[in-house]
Each structure stands twice: as C-alpha cells, then as structure tokens.
Amino acid sequence: MAKIKLAKSKVDKLVEICKSFDNEGSELINVLHKAQQTFGYLPAEVQEIIARELNVSVAHVYGVVTFYSFFSMVPKGEFPISICMGTACYVRGGEKVLEEFKRQLNVPVGETTDDGKFSISCLRCVGACGLAPVVTVGERVYGRVSVGDVADIIKEYQQ
C-alpha cells in the first residue's frame, strides 16, 4: 500500500481544481496544467490525488506526465533559465551558450543548483528568432546572447 503525505490545503486545492473540470478523466492534461501552475511542479503525491479525483489509474497519470516535456516532477529553480534550442538559435550559437550556462552553474540540463536558485532547461523556439540566440530567465527574455554574456546574466540574479 502506497503511503503519501500531503498538506490539507494542497489536497483541498487539488480537489477543487479537479472539480472545476467536472472530475473528467479526459481533462487530465488541463488538470495537470492547472496543478503545475499552482504548485510549480507535479510530485508523486499530487499525481496520486489527481488520479483519485479523476478516477483514473495513477500509472496513467504518470504516463501522461512523463510524456509531455512541459510537465515536471521536480521543482524548478528560483530563477529558471531556459536556453532556446530552436534551429535559428542553434545556428546562431545557442548550443555554446547552453554549454557555458551548464559549465558556470555546474548543473546538467533539467536540474537545479544545490542552492535552489537556478535550473537549466532547453526550450524549442520562443518565436523570437530575430533575437537569436535567446535565453529566458523566468519571464525575462535575453536576446543575442553570447558566451561572454552568460556570467553577467547569472550575476544579475545572484544577489
């Protein structure tokens, strides 16, 4: 028997989210979006509750969560850094920028620094190809980023 622990407020919130979608199994992806918006990520406990509320198997929920790259089971850093790996950014040096972020923060893609401050992810085309290569930190977009700019961008958020 799997045992999970979750704060009551979170359970209530999840129940409310599921209810707002009529507890329909076919609304799973919408529910997951909402839940991730609310909690920042989708830990196992959250998936268990969603499965129970939507009356689908938790294996199914997990299968869906792991299919879509937008969903994450680990919390992102306080400042999530995303490097665009769209083709336009790639040919204008996006990969080098990514390597530099990885090197300077010493974390691989998809993970968060030990202090919880930064996480690195790749994304596919923000549609700002005119600014390639593009890096986003949270909502903020940095365009025409060069390897040399990486340290400055990190510094901006380090204080």
């Binding site: 979006h33 879509y68 937008f70 969903f71 790639y90 190809c129 005119g130 600014l131 365009g143």
Partner: protein, 597 residues
C-alpha cells in the same frame, strides 16, 4: 472608438515584446499625454510586423513611417519630433544594407516588396484585442456570406476550387478534407485548430494567433458550418501565453457579439470554441496524436485509416487544420476562389508564410506567393547572408525537411517542388546556413530533436532514430567509417518506409539530404577526419601562431579553463588536452594569431 488623426502602431509580437515593446507603448502614451495629444493620436499594439530582425518596430500612420530597433527611451523623441513637429527621426529609420540608403516606408523596403500578405493580412495592422478593428476589415463577413448565401456544399466547392492546401506540412487539399468530414454522419462533430506549433524555428502560427485571432475563429466557424459541427477546439501550445491570452479575449468578444454561440447571425447555426493546451510534444502536430492529447492521453499517433474525418475526437468525425490554413479561409470566401487560385503556382495556390532565420540579414516572418524562388527569399527579402559570409545551405520544413544548396536556389517554392528536391514545405521554417555550419552536425542537431520528440510507439522511430543519431555522433567525433555512410542510408530509408506516423516517416530527411548534397563533407569527416566547417569539436584544434602572437595575455586571461600558457610578451601555447574548444580565445585575440586547425 474615437476618430484619430494619426495612428501609432507598435509590434506586440513575442519577439518585439521581448525587447520591451510594451514599455515603448507606455512611454509613447505618456509622451502624448504630456503634449495633450492623447485624443488625436491613437497608439495601437498590433501583432507581428514580420521584420523581427529589426524589432521592436513602430509604425506611424498615415505617413507610413517605419521605425526600427526602437528603444523605450526613444518614445519621447518620436512624439516630439515626428508627431508634434512633423520631422522624421532619422536615426530610427531603416537603412538598406546594400544601398546604404534610408528607407522610411516599409513599402519600399526589400524585405516587404515581394511579399503578399493574405494569412498575415491583419498582423501588424489591427489591434488583435479589438474585434471592431477586425470587423472593419471585412471580419466575419465571410462567415456571414456562408451562413446567409451559401450552402455547406457551395462553401466546400469554393475552398476546393481555390486550391488551398494544408499549411501545416502535409499539403493535403483543404476542401477535400472538409468534404470527407462533412459526408460522415454523426450526432456530434468537431473542428479542431492545430496550434501546437512544434517546429523549432517556425512561429507563423503563433504570430497569426497573436496578431489576428479572429481570422482563425471565423474560419473555424465556416468549417464547422460545412461539416455540421457545433464544437471547435483550439489545441495550442502552453508555451504560447500571449497567443492564449489574445485568443481568450477574441473568443470572449466574439461571444459578446454573437459571432460565436447560438444562432449566429440569425442563421440558425450554432458554434462555439474552447481551448486545450498542449504540453510540449512535437509529435502532437500529427493529427491523431493531437486528438489523443486532447482526450487527456499520451500524445501517441494511431494508424490511419481511420482518419479523424471518420473517427476523431471522442470517436466523432473531426476536421483538423492548422492555424495558417484557417487564416486563409475568410479571404478566399470574400474574394473568391478564382482570385486566390491566381496567386501562386498551378498546384500550390496562394501564399505561404515562412519563418526566415539563421545566418541571414533579415530574420523575420514573411509571406510570399507560392512559386517565389529560394533565391528571391534569401537574397532579396532576406537581404543575403549575414556578415558577408558565403551561402551554404537552406533548410526548409523543420526537422522533417532537408538541406538544399546553391543549385536549388532557383527552385520555385511550392509543395511538390520541395519534395522533388528532397525536402518539404513543412510548417514553413526556413533556416539559412553559411560556410561555418557543418552539415553533419546540422543533421545530428535535427536527429537529436527527433530522438527527443519521438513518442516511442513504433520501433523504427524509437530505436532507429536513436541509432541514426549515434552514427552521426560517431562521425562528428571522427570515429566514423565509410561503411557508416551506407548504414546511415539504409537505416534512413527503412525508417522512412516503416514508421507509423509523419514524424518518423520524415525524420531521416535531414540525413538523406545532407548525404546527397554534401557527400564530400561526410567523406572529409570519415576519411580525413576533418570537419571542413570547423564546427566539430573533436576534429579541430585551436592553435596559436607563434609568429603572430605578441604575448598580450588577453586570451589566457579569458580562457575559462586556463589552458593557455605563456609569459607576457612571449608567444602563448594552448594545452590541447585541457582545451574545451569554446573559441573564446579566438574571439578575443586582436592579432588573428589563433586559428582552427
């Protein structure tokens, strides 16, 4: 709506917003207020102008002045000089890079000259959050015409006659698709708009939704009318917050006006639209995968037939079209199939929007008639290759397309021509590469994408693409052999031949087309263990020419891994074992002493 003497249009596309176009809008409004002109000059945030390279863009009407690369601090000057004093701000005008001349009016810019904007007709022209502006430009007139004057079959016939083909990649005749869906009887049918633009480097769908959301809603309603559907779903990438926001506003306004909902325009036709969010899976661009995703499942494709037109969303007849396809529909109805058919080539009517990017001067979103040549697009509209480098290849069709070369430049672009030369239209990504781009690495880049985006359902795509990637990786690391090229070819052919869906059926295209067009480059990698473009790290070495090095130490100080050794004023040496080949030293050296060997 007040009647203004002047309009200032600011690009509110994602690219320009990333460069603070919202702040520019605010500053302009503040500056107008300060001069007491807020009732005379209207400031409008529009959709994308397309010329993203030079964003943010501010356009002033009626004199059509086109300001580029505007910064928030320029707002006051624009108001003071242009609006009040009637003098153009020269430093913000576009300078033609060839002729070195100022061009103040977009109509006279090379970038816009060859463009015909149908799908993008309202982008950069109207305020997408104002339905009135859409209506004033014949918005919903096509829907009205269909509902009032045309039978569903007549509408289908019109679309068929127009020659419109699916702009999402497949190029399937839209009218035919509608007809299939209309012929299947069911108690419920669905119209789905595929706005899950996943092609890296293509952003036309997002631009249309951000700049002209009503055109898509109107077209969906028209489609629904032809097939007898009452429900529409827009499946949109969750990563497109602005497009989602604009659509939400548009749907709300359309409902308020009764252009969505029950008994539209008193014609007894009811239709409404809701949104579903994609969650980051390229394969969901495939319609059966998309439908599964809409149903809350893993976005895995299923074997066709049955086609969605027979059994789609919730098992009901469903018609799926992409955003750009829909955006063309109202114009076709308003202006007639014959008008549309005249544009473009015989088998590919109309225009196509391309996202022009890569090593090109004018990055941006363009719409050209089918049949325009690659050369016109790259050299005239695109302004040629960046930094005076040499053109090497253009990749069309995104990860499923192929790399075309110099010899293909005069190919008129249309669905069939691109396939004939080993590439495809795809959703319209067009990435230009120069002499510094290694074609093996390019193929590897695309395969990396496909491997990551494969759903894993069928063997050739799940395992085959992985093996393709591994072979390419081996080659870029200098460990490949000539036999590997044969393996690449056979595997590519089999993956294309046996994969379940369009993703796998096209994923080897970048490999096949680069082997075909850049065979020498592959041979250089596997036989000479050299990367001619100097991009494959394992096959290159940074060296300092002791003759040219003056010992300024700049490179050593900037080296991130401290692998450059040397005394001040003496020639430096790079420790190849420690070098991570980041290229910083070469960028920093002022004496051209560092080169790639």
């Amino acid at each position: 709506m007040e009647k203004y003497k002047m309009h200032i249009l600011i690009c509110g596309g994602t690219g320009c917003r990333a460069s603070a176009s919202e702040t520019i809008q605010n500053n302009l409004q503040e500056a107008l207020k300060a001069k007491g002109l807020e009732d005379e000059v209207q400031v409008v945030m529009t959709g994308c102008f397309g010329f993203c390279e030079k964003g943010p863009i501010v356009k002033i009407l009626p004199d059509n002045t086109f300001y580029v690369e505007v910064k928030p601090e320029d707002a006051e000057e624009i108001i003071d000089e242009h609006i009040v004093k009637g003098r153009k701000v020269m430093r913000l005008l576009y300078v033609d890079p060839e002729k070195k001349e100022v061009v103040s009016d977009s109509k006279h810019m090379e970038f816009y000259k060859k463009q015909i904007r149908i799908a993008l007709r309202n982008c950069g022209f109207i305020n997408p959050e104002n339905i009135d502006e859409y209506i004033s430009r014949d918005g919903y007139a096509a829907l009205g015409k269909c509902l009032t004057d045309m039978t569903p079959q007549l509408v289908i016939d019109e679309i068929k006659a127009s020659g419109l083909r699916g702009r999402g990649g497949g190029g399937f005749p839209t009218g035919l698709k509608w007809e299939f869906a209309s012929k299947n009887k069911a108690d419920q049918k669905y119209v789905v708009c595929n706005a899950d633009e996943g092609d890296p480097g293509a952003f036309m769908d997002r631009s249309i939704l951000e700049g002209d959301p009503h055109s898509v809603l109107e077209a969906m309603a028209i489609c629904a009318y032809t097939m007898g559907a009452t429900k529409g779903v827009i499946y949109i990438r969750a990563e497109y917050p602005l497009a989602i926001q604009r659509l939400k506003v548009a749907i709300k306004q359309a409902r308020e006006y009764g252009l969505l909902g029950n008994d539209i325009l008193g014609a007894g036709f009811s239709f409404d639209v809701e949104m579903r969010y994609g969650a980051g899976a390229f394969v969901c661009g495939e319609e059966t995968a998309l439908i599964h995703s809409m149903e809350g499942l893993r976005g895995e494709p299923t074997v066709k037939p049955p086609f969605p037109a027979e059994s789609g969303y919730n098992g009901k007849p469903t018609n799926v079209n992409n955003v750009e396809t829909f955006a063309n529909v109202p114009v076709i109805i308003n202006k007639g199939a014959a008008w549309f058919k005249k544009i473009g080539t015989e088998k590919s009517a109309g225009t196509k929007v391309f996202a022009l990017a890569g090593k090109i001067n004018n990055v941006g979103l363009i719409e050209v008639p089918m049949g325009t040549t690659l050369r016109e697009v790259i050299y005239e509209i695109g302004g040629g290759i960046k930094d005076g480098k040499k053109f090497k290849a253009v990749q069309t069709g995104g990860p499923s397309g192929g790399c075309l070369t110099e010899k293909h430049l005069d190919t008129p672009i249309d669905f069939d021509n691109l396939i004939a030369v080993g590439s495809m239209m795809g959703s319209g990504g067009m990435i230009v590469m120069d002499e510094d781009d290694c074609m093996v690495s390019m193929a590897k880049f695309y395969l990396d994408f496909t491997v990551e985006e494969s759903c894993g359902k069928c063997t050739p795509c799940r395992v085959g693409n992985k093996r393709l990637y591994e072979l390419l990786n081996k080659i870029t690391e200098g460990k490949g052999t000539k036999e590997d090229l044969d393996l690449l070819r056979n595997l590519s052919t089999v993956i294309k031949d046996t994969s379940l869906c369009g993703l796998g059926q096209t994923s080897p295209n970048p490999v096949l087309s680069t082997i075909e067009n850049f065979y020498d480059e592959y041979i250089a990698h596997v036989e000479d263990h050299k990367c001619p473009a100097g991009q494959c790290k394992a096959l290159m070495q940074y060296v300092i020419d002791p003759e040219l090095c003056v010992g300024c130490t700049l490179c050593a100080r900037n080296c991130p891994v401290d692998c450059i050794i040397g005394e001040r004023k003496e020639a430096h040496v790079i420790d190849a074992a420690k070098c991570i080949k980041c290229g910083t030293c070469m960028d920093k050296c002022k004496f051209n002493a560092i080169s790639i060997k």
